[in-house]
């Protein structure tokens, strides 16, 4: 057992509407959508056309640059439509589910005791490779590379994050199988971050190095954990896999089937009876109509958590890698003299200039109001470093990204972060800068310049 790493910096966002650990519905939806925008670093090439019959695990998209990377259908059925946007950009491939879940032959599990190359090949063919994400930059891993190590975070500290113990109840054997198989792909083995203090079932995993972390958000982010286990240097790559990915990979290795079924937490202040829904990626929001009622126009639908998730709208679909849907109220109303009111009882602020620090147990029905206007950075590093348990200067990094200064970005640690790691800095920023977006643009620039 390893020692606990205590992270003193961070902030848990006290937002209301945590999901009850019950599955309220099984929504094996009639139509699912595969959205290329979910796959970072993939230049999509369409492999199917309208009317084609697809099976679970048969390829739908491939990468133009590395054609061995495939995205496969999670269901069997027929390609019902291909949605394109401006300049014919591919937005989504819609597949009508025939509910038979017939599996494609092309995807077959390697035999027990297969070597690394065979495992890689099988994962690529089954379309499970995109679950393996490379750092730096947070893009789909390069199958030709050998990473320094593979990291997994077995808990999440994000606002209203689904409970992994509930979600992966009964899947421990699959996760174990995936870890055993992936351990062969890297020199440094697999490292799993566990929450401190609790008796996590993931502590029983073998064939990997366990690390325990105590702290507030973003202590559960794999990027933060990596920076404390073994920070990423220039020219190094590490891989990360989510628990969801391990479950899918393990299930495929054990049963030979591509099965992306998952428990999705429907949560947030606007969720009626927040709980879990068992479903597939690409589920349409209307499937959970019971959870948001009739006021859809005032609701923001987020695939993912309230800090780093993507706004998908009422007609949107669950992201390929997400197992959380957050429902927030659109905070479009003006607040008379809001900023000068001494109390503002219903609003949360971490700052001592309000009084919510007096009631740490309260949960707030947060909405999407910006609570201010955009300004230049005014507060210092220390203000943001309070919530960032990493050894970097967040404001200097953000300014380097804004300036597009590659050398400075490198110095200030662009290799170590993904936008989600600085999400809490963005949450508390009184200047209302879109720090995650700034970092994302910096990462895009790095990828372009360093390629």
């Amino acid at each position: 057992m390893s020692n606990t790493i205590v992270l003193k910096k961070g902030l848990d966002i006290p937002i209301a509407g945590a999901a009850e650990p019950v599955v309220s519905k099984t929504a094996l939806t009639d139509i699912i959508a595969i959205q290329p925008s979910d796959f970072k670093g993939l230049t999509p090439r369409l492999l199917v056309k309208e009317g084609d019959r697809v099976l679970a695990g048969s390829p739908v998209l491939s990468d133009k640059l590395r054609p061995e990377i495939l995205v496969t259908s999670p269901v069997s059925g027929t390609v019902q439509g291909i949605v394109r946007g401006e300049k014919r950009k591919l937005l989504a491939v819609c597949i009508a589910n025939d509910h038979l879940q017939t599996c494609a032959d092309s995807a077959s599990a390697p035999s027990a005791g297969a070597d690394a190359q065979q495992v890689k090949k099988a994962l690529l063919a089954a379309g499970l490779w995109p679950w393996i994400v490379q750092r730096p930059y947070g893009v789909i891993a390069d199958p030709g590379a050998t990473p320094k190590a593979i990291f997994v975070s077995a808990f999440s500290t994000a606002p209203l994050a689904p409970d992994p113990v509930f979600c992966f109840d009964g899947s421990l054997k699959y996760i174990q199988a995936a870890i055993s198989a992936l351990a062969g792909l890297s020199a440094g083995g697999v490292h799993v971050g566990l929450p401190a203090g609790t008796d996590s079932p993931f502590a029983r995993l073998t064939g990997c190095t366990l690390h325990r972390f105590a702290g507030k958000h973003p202590a559960g982010n794999v990027g933060v954990q990596i920076s404390h286990i073994c920070p990423i240097r220039k020219d190094e790559t590490v891989w990360t896999v989510s628990l969801l990915g391990l479950e899918a990979i393990g299930r495929f290795l054990a049963t030979g089937k591509v099965d992306l079924r998952r428990k999705v937490a429907v949560c947030g202040p606007m969720a009626i009876e927040p709980s879990y829904v068992e479903t597939l990626p690409g589920m349409q929001m209307k499937e959970i109509a019971g959870h948001y009622g009739t006021s859809a126009a005032e609701i923001r639908f987020i695939s993912g958590d309230a800090l780093s998730g993507r706004s998908i709208g009422e007609d949107g679909c669950l992201g390929f890698f997400d197992n959380q849907i957050t429902l927030l109220r659109e905070g479009t109303e003006e607040e008379l003299l809001g900023w000068i009111r001494p109390l503002r009882w219903k609003q949360y602020s971490h700052d001592h200039s309000y009084f919510s620090w007096l009631t740490p147990w309260r949960r707030y029905g947060m909405d999407t109001n910006l609570h201010g206007g955009p300004r230049a950075f005014l507060m210092n590093e220390g203000y943001y470093q309070k919530v960032l348990p990493m050894d970097i200067f967040p404001v200097f990094l953000a300014k380097a990204c804004l300036a597009g200064d590659i050398e400075k970005m490198e110095k200030f640690g662009i290799y170590e972060v993904l936008p989600e790691d600085l999400a809490v800095c963005e949450f508390i920023d009184p200047s209302k800068n879109n720090i995650q977006d700034i970092i994302a643009q910096g990462i895009d620039l790095m990828r372009k310049e360093m390629a």
Binding site: Y348, N380, D391, K411
Partner: protein
Amino acid sequence: MNPVFEKGGKLYWLHSTIDAFETFLHVPGTVTRKGAHVRDAIDLKRILILVVIAAAPAALFGMWNVGYQHGLAIGDGRLDILGNFWYGFLKVLPLYVVSYVVGLGIEFASSQIRGEEVSEGYLVSGFFIPLIVPVDIPLWMLAIAVAFAVIFGKEVFGGTGMNFVNPAILTRAFLFFSYPNQMSGSACWISHKPAEQLVDGFTGATPLALDGASAQYGTGFWDLFIGTVPGSVGETSVIAILLGAVLLIWTGIASWKIMFSGVLGALFVGFLGQWAGIGTISAPMQLLYGGFAFGIVFMATDPVTSAQTECGKWIYGFLIGALCITVRLFNPGYAEGMMLAILLMNITAPLIDHCVVSVHISRRNKKFNAAKI
């Protein structure tokens, strides 16, 4: 907003101004577009209004003190607290009007030119400026100084958050170097009209310039601590400034590291001077004299112009305190060194940060190289 103020409307040139007043009255209904969907309720308006509230005790006391010093100077002790305050209020009010009208006018115009929302930064600068000038300063001088400081200290660099010198300190420095007669010596610190009969033994010098001579006001510890001595409007009362310091430190807006290390720096040089037999003021008393307290609490801690890194703040604060007392001890020309100390350290702060960050990065690289998996 009325469409006439929107882009393409007839009154678009007023867009930033109208927007500023609207957002002053209401927190706008804008929602997050990118990134984190929920945000903290804190914004710059809240932070900066708290700075103003923190400085309010010093300002109110300063107004009363203007009346009180005037009473002492003409040997007329008939006015009560309210009378003294009213006298001072009427004296200081024009300074505020000039400070805000000129400063905000330029701020609104620049924001419109840049096409941005009006930043609240000047609310604070404009509140400080009347507190750090002599009460009898001619208004036209103040207007020129404010215009200079806001345009060349802030707007040319891109507005609040982009400036490297504190606009309030720059205003005072501009006055100091352009109009030294109105800004130094013993004629400007106590409000009185030329026609008024002054008491015997009257002196207009501040305690710091007095250098132990006698005056019509007290110069003991309590006089200095409470602030019943002449000086710039808001700088005299250490106790009122400490009240503000408590609020600023509690809310985390101003850095306690800067304040604490500033006091350490001042004591360090103060004791050195005492040990070497330079000057007549003991080191702890130096903290009560002149603009040290106001400067270290409100001016040095400006988050934009101070050092950005936590380690840099220790160095930055220490050097401000040390430089201030050094000027006081060694330079007979300037009785007060606080303004110059802050100005110099504002300019040096990026260098301090650069050094701190470089050291941090090389240490981090060493750690990286040592890390093994």
